[in-house]
């Protein structure tokens, strides 16, 4: 967007975002106003600090990881995310619509398909991006969710049990396919969808 005034969002942009993410016109405008309200620096992009200013995220155990998910690659502190990137990440949480299921199979999968939703969640576990959730990564997540009162050993045994349950190829970590398999009973389409009101 460069130096353009951040309050303007051009029609072509809206159309492009619509095509890429599948959001409707009104949803995009609503989210744009949210984007600008978060953007204290008024330069059309969000930095990490802007996200960290959201009070509830600070107490969320996964707060840091969620913020990182908005910034594409690299943990460079100077990273900024523009509106496009913002929407692209949020698109993962759009509810799956029935008519999308009948889309052209040759087209690339929409961002909010079940697999992509699961991939998003998987990437939050897998920080080093080696396509596997190792025991340590799992331990880190468990520690964040459970708090400080539980001993390392108990957590360790839970982590071991978790990996043992999921692991099928014996590499002592959870690969993406194993992750999908474990969650096959969970209704991911409902669980990982936010109702963006029309």
């Amino acid at each position: 967007m460069g130096s353009r005034a951040s309050t303007l969002l051009r029609e072509e942009e809206i159309e492009e975002i619509k095509k890429e993410t599948g959001f409707s016109h009104s949803q995009i405008t609503r989210l744009y106003s949210r984007f600008t309200s978060l953007d204290k620096g008024e330069n059309g992009t969000l930095s990490r600090e802007d996200f960290q200013r959201i009070p509830e995220l600070a107490i969320n155990p996964l707060g840091d990881r969620i913020i990182n998910a908005f910034f594409p690659e690299g943990l460079d502190r100077e990273d900024q995310v523009n509106f496009r990137g913002f929407m692209r990440t949020l698109a993962h949480f759009r509810p799956i619509e029935d008519n999308e299921k009948n889309k052209d199979p040759t087209a690339s999968e929409p961002l909010n398909s079940r697999t992509n939703k699961l991939l998003f969640a998987f990437r939050l576990y897998d920080l080093d991006r080696d396509d596997k959730i190792s025991r340590d990564e799992l331990l880190q997540v468990l520690r964040m969710m459970v708090g400080v009162n539980i001993s390392d050993e108990q957590l360790g045994s839970i982590a071991d049990r978790t990996i043992q349950e999921a692991d099928q190829n014996g590499d002592n970590s959870i690969s993406f396919n194993e992750f999908i398999k474990v969650l096959e009973k969970v209704d991911v389409e409902q669980k990982m969808s936010i109702r963006f009101l029309h």
Binding site: L31, R34, S37, F51, I54, E56, L57, N60, P61, L62, G63, I66, F70, L90, F93, P95, D98, A121, L124, Y125, R135, V141, L142, M145, V146, G147, N149, I150, S151, D152, E153, Q154, G156, S157, I158, D160, R161, T162, Q164, E165, A166, G170, N172, V182, L183, K185, V186, D187, E189, Q190, K191, M192, S193, I194, R195, F196
Partner: protein
């Protein structure tokens, strides 16, 4: 909640028929005592007079008959026994129970028994409304409420409420109004029935019945979403039914309706439903608070659960509030706290007693429905009865389709046509409708006609819809319930996703579902739990509690199936083995642990058990030493051997692995290495272990077969 008894495998073919014969004989005998009472009287009278008048020597009566003394309990016990034997009988005949749902069979039995009694010349007992509402219905509802799957319920609560409230209202007015229109037709000869009467009838017959729904849906194992939709609707529409029934009954007596009355009716609805829930919640908290102090009297713990719930039901019935909603609210509210406080055995007791009582109640209800059909005075009118049945079906279908159209605009996961069909088809009517009809005062001239029509609708829905729903479900390939326990993976990832979704909602500035759920859970953790949960346990995160329960269950299962002997081992203790020498716990402490476990588990494989259970008693001495990447053996049969040789990822572990073959055969020296470094943690763990396993109870405790638990998994 119908016990899935495994088919009795008889040693020889004649055995099946002999049991059946026994059942039939008892059936005949059950009818007789009612008759016997009449014939015994004169006998007793003369005997009595003999004893008092004759002063000459008479032999001391060695044996005498005094039926009157035990009459009531005797008959009750005999009826219940009959019901249960019938249930037993059905499962002996294999083919029948897979085609016909149990509820149908029970009604048929009721019809037969009723017919038999009538033939003898006695008056068959009718399903007394008081008996029904105060004794037979509460166990079923409590069982349903206590084990209500909370997550699917709260996810779909909006949909359920819309179906329950608006759907039932629509049904009542549509059926009532259409019947009134029907009655206006000259040829039908029913002009005497007023609009209010018809509306009253409509409100009685429109409510989906939880007992019937449970009985049928339990057997078809449909997917969780549809089950909770239909079942939740049947539970929550009680408030609507109560209000409409009382409303129309009042209006009928008074004769006129004003706008004020209608307005008051609406207010009444909110009072009844919210009041019922409030009463339930209060009793639920009382029960939770009481359970906090029961650590010294574990035997009576289950009683508190039952009594508080029953009191909630009775208290709300006292004020004409919705008893069913009170019961559900009480069960839902008290469950998490009570389960954190009570012992494992009490938990099992509660579960089994609830299932047992609800099963008996259900059986009795259906049998009595059959008997009452034969007994009750009937008035048949083709147009009215057939009209009722048809209109009920039509209104249900229209209602579901219409409401789903509106609901789907607000749902994330839309309801498909198949879902709508099952929801519409699953709208069964049952004994509640019959009892409400029976309660109608005799001031209604058409009471008998109403009763006949209600019974016809019930029969139609239970027989026709109940029998055909299973083949239809298979024909339409509706998603079935996936029969497996919740794994630790699901638990962890679901909680992970909860946090994730909440975070994303916060980023969007959207106060949605997850936001409020989190607020409630945080409030619960900071304020409520510390008052209602005993000891230090209120700090325990849910994940840990879940994991602990899972491990305990599995340990018990392993011991029972005797798998622990060969495998198990030492992989567990191997995990605690570090390359360096470790300080061992003193012999005395080890013996104490062994003693506790042995006395509680009563199993000579306890040595192996210790190795398994000590897993969460374990606190290794030095935490910073590198852990070997040891993989625990899978505890499923058939896998154990194959899993053992893999995984160790460090050379140290490999050398330890060589020890396996030696250790496998040593049952006595497992050496659970319990490290005494962190005493506080050990104390906590001891407490939790002791709490789980301790109970004064019979010495030869039979550990329940955990397979049965599978059926009762909520």
């Amino acid at each position: 909640m119908i016990f899935e008894m495994s088919a009795l495998s008889c040693a020889f073919p004649g055995c099946r028929w002999s049991v059946l014969l026994l059942v039939l004989v008892l059936l005949v005998c059950s009818a007789l005592p009612i008759d016997a009472s009449a014939s015994v009287y004169p006998l007793r009278g003369t005997e009595g007079s003999n004893l008092t008048n004759v002063t000459t020597k008479k032999a001391f009566p060695v044996i005498g008959v005094n039926y009157d003394h035990v009459r009531k309990p005797f008959e009750i016990a005999l009826w219940i026994l009959l019901a249960l034997l019938m249930k037993l009988g059905f499962h002996i005949i294999p083919r029948v129970s897979s085609v016909v749902p149990e509820s149908c069979l029970l009604i048929v039995v009721g019809l037969l028994v009723g017919g038999f009694i009538k033939v003898i010349g006695e008056k068959p007992p009718v399903l007394d409304s008081q008996l029904f509402f105060l004794c037979l219905l509460p166990p079923i509802i409590l069982d349903a409420g206590y084990f209500l799957p909370i997550r699917p319920f709260t996810d779909n609560v909006g949909t359920i409420l819309v179906f329950a409230v608006i759907g039932t209202l629509w049904n009542a007015f549509f059926v009532g109004g259409s019947l009134y229109a029907l009655c206006q037709i000259e040829s039908v000869d029913l002009a005497g029935i007023g609009l209010l009467s018809c509306l009253l009838f409509g409100s009685i017959v429109s409510a989906v019945d939880p007992v019937a729904v449970l009985a049928v849906f339990e057997e078809i194992h449909i997917n969780e979403l549809l089950h909770i939709l239909v079942f939740g609707e049947s539970l929550l529409n009680d408030a609507v039914t109560v209000v409409l029934y009382n409303l129309f009954e009042e209006f009928y007596k008074v004769g006129t309706v004003t706008v004020l009355d209608v307005f008051l009716g609406v207010v009444c609805f909110f009072v009844v439903s919210l009041g019922g829930v409030l009463v339930g919640v209060i009793y639920g908290f009382l029960a939770a608070f009481t359970s906090r102090f029961t650590s010294h009297t574990r035997v009576i713990e289950p009683l508190f659960v039952f009594l508080y719930s029953y009191m909630a039901y009775l208290s709300s019935e006292l004020f004409h509030l919705s008893g069913i909603m009170a019961l559900i609210a009480c069960g839902v509210v008290m469950r998490p706290y009570v389960e954190a406080n009570i012992s494992h055995k009490s938990y099992t007791t509660i579960k089994y007693f609830l299932k047992m009582w609800s099963s008996v109640s259900e059986t009795l209800i259906f049998i009595f429905l059959g008997v009452s059909t034969v007994a009750g005075p009937h008035a048949w009118n083709w147009a009215f009865v057939v009209g009722t049945v048809v209109l009920c079906l039509v209104s249900r279908v229209l209602g579901v389709i219409g409401l789903t159209f509106i609901i789907n605009k607000f749902r994330i996961v839309k309801l498909t046509k198949k879902d709508q069909f099952i929801v519409a088809y699953g709208g069964l009517r049952g004994a509640i409708a019959f009892s409400l009809g029976y309660l109608l005062s005799d001031s209604h001239p058409t009471r008998h006609l109403f009763l006949t029509a209600i019974i016809t609708v019930i029969f139609f829905t239970v027989f026709v819809q109940g029998m055909t729903i299973r083949p239809l479900v298979e024909l339409l390939a509706v998603k079935r319930k996936k029969e497996s326990k919740r794994s630790i993976n699901e638990e962890i990832h679901t909680e992970f996703l909860d946090h994730l979704l909440r975070g994303v909602e916060d980023v969007c500035g959207h106060y949605g579902h997850y936001h409020w759920k989190d607020k409630l859970s945080r409030f619960n953790k900071t304020y409520v739990k510390r008052w209602l949960i005993a000891g230090e346990n209120f700090r325990e995160p849910e994940l840990i509690a879940f994991y602990r329960k899972m491990e305990l269950k599995q340990a018990i299962m392993m011991v029972e199936s005797g798998q622990l002997s060969s495998s198990l081992p030492s992989t567990v203790s191997m995990q605690n083995i570090e390359p360096k020498p470790i300080p061992r716990v003193s012999k005395k402490q080890e013996e104490e642990i062994r003693r506790i476990l042995r006395s509680n588990l009563q199993n000579n494989k306890v040595s192996v058990m210790e190795g398994r259970v000590s897993h969460y008693l374990t606190v290794p001495a030095n935490r910073e030493s590198p852990r070997i990447g040891v993989r625990r053996v899978r505890f499923e049969s058939g896998h154990t051997r194959s899993q053992m040789p893999s995984y160790p990822s460090t050379p140290d572990a490999v050398s330890l692995e060589a020890e396996f073959p030696k250790r496998v055969n040593q049952k006595t020296d497992i050496g659970p290495k319990v490290y005494a470094s962190d005493n506080h943690q050990r104390e906590l763990d001891y407490q939790s272990l002791a709490r789980c396993l301790s109970d004064p109870g019979p010495h030869k405790e039979e550990e329940e077969d955990d397979d049965d638990d599978e059926i009762f998994m909520s």
